[in-house]
């Protein structure tokens, strides 16, 4: 759009943001992630408060499967690597690399969700319910399902989001000079990984 056209339409936004010169979308994603981080932060702080004030909170590592969740953590870390590799590929003009690495990232997310579904099924079979459990404080299972479920919803959202990016990549939508949507999607996916690192530590290990 020419300078004259912008002057004629004062409602048109300037072409560059001072914080993220790449796009307004990237700044928007960062602001969204900051808000989302507050949701997770409040959930984790609430979890800590309830646990600290409870006398019969079970030791999570005795009840929950640490080996399985450690592998799930490993999977999410690997999917973060494939995501940055995909972004790096398109920044170097490698379309096939972008498709391959985004595809692998989606696979990692689907595998994570499948393992979470297996874990939940196993725990429910052993008496874990949203309203109580046979291991101790009833809020142990309530907070467990809320925290891991909220994160799981984010992973599911990420898988759908990356699938849309993959479809666009298959159509040859991205290039060396135009790959901002991939970077914005990558920010979301890394955030999901970052949050899991904290959930894994506070809910499963501490």
């Amino acid at each position: 759009m020419s300078q004259a056209a912008v002057l004629e339409h004062p409602g048109v936004e300037p072409a560059e943001s001072p914080l993220t010169p790449e796009s307004w979308g990237k700044l928007g994603m960062w602001i969204f992630l900051a808000g989302d981080a507050m949701s997770f932060g409040a959930l984790l702080a609430g979890y800590g408060a309830l646990r600290y004030s409870s006398g019969d909170w079970p030791t999570p590592s005795h009840v929950l499967g640490i080996q399985l969740t450690a592998f799930m953590t490993f999977l999410l870390i690997c999917s973060s690597v494939t995501m940055v590799k995909g972004l790096s590929a398109i920044q170097h003009g490698d379309q096939a690399g972008l498709r391959r690495f985004v595809g692998l990232t989606i696979l990692g997310g689907v595998a994570f969700l499948s393992m979470q579904a297996y874990e939940w099924t196993h725990l429910i079979e052993h008496g874990m319910r949203l309203s109580g459990n046979p291991f101790g404080a009833s809020l142990f299972s309530t907070t467990f399902f809320c925290l891991t479920g909220f994160h799981g919803c984010h992973v599911f959202g990420g898988v759908v989001y990356l699938s849309c990016i993959l479809v666009q990549a298959l159509r040859g939508r991205y290039s060396v000079t135009d790959n901002n949507p991939v970077e914005i999607a990558a920010l979301y996916w890394h955030f999901v990984d970052l949050v899991w690192i904290l959930v894994f530590t506070f809910v499963y290990l501490v």
């Binding site: 914080l19 993220t20 507050m38 600290y52 870390i77 955030f191 690192i197 894994f200």
Partner: protein
């Protein structure tokens, strides 16, 4: 239009994340005081989260103001924890003996 950044060592960060995850799992079985284990786990988790934010989310290469936006939730969470602390103290000091005594007092009336 995308601005090109100098690419961080992504695989190097991956190995650090992997090593820290393995260390976290080892620490929970270590013969140490529970408080020390908790502190170590928190330090390692925050280190891992920082590695992801700084290098995979490229925060290390972005403008400082974006870093402030990203840090805001952490600061607010610390405030929230301080805000919750008085309530925690109230619940913890409400021991079963104190509760029984309180019930006795109420029962007399």
């Amino acid at each position: 239009m995308t601005v090109a950044h100098e690419e961080p060592n992504y695989m190097g960060v991956f190995w650090w994340l992997l090593v820290l995850t393995i260390l976290e799992i080892c620490v929970i079985y270590a013969p140490m005081a529970h408080l020390a284990i908790v502190l170590l786990l928190i330090v390692m988790a925050l280190t891992k989260a920082s590695l992801v934010a700084m290098f995979y989310m490229h925060l290390a290469l972005e403008k400082r103001t974006l870093g402030i936006i990203a840090l805001t939730p952490l600061v607010l969470c610390v405030f929230l924890i301080f805000a919750l602390t008085p309530d925690l103290g109230a619940v913890i000091h409400q021991s079963p003996k104190a509760e029984a005594a309180a019930e006795g007092v109420h029962g007399e009336h």
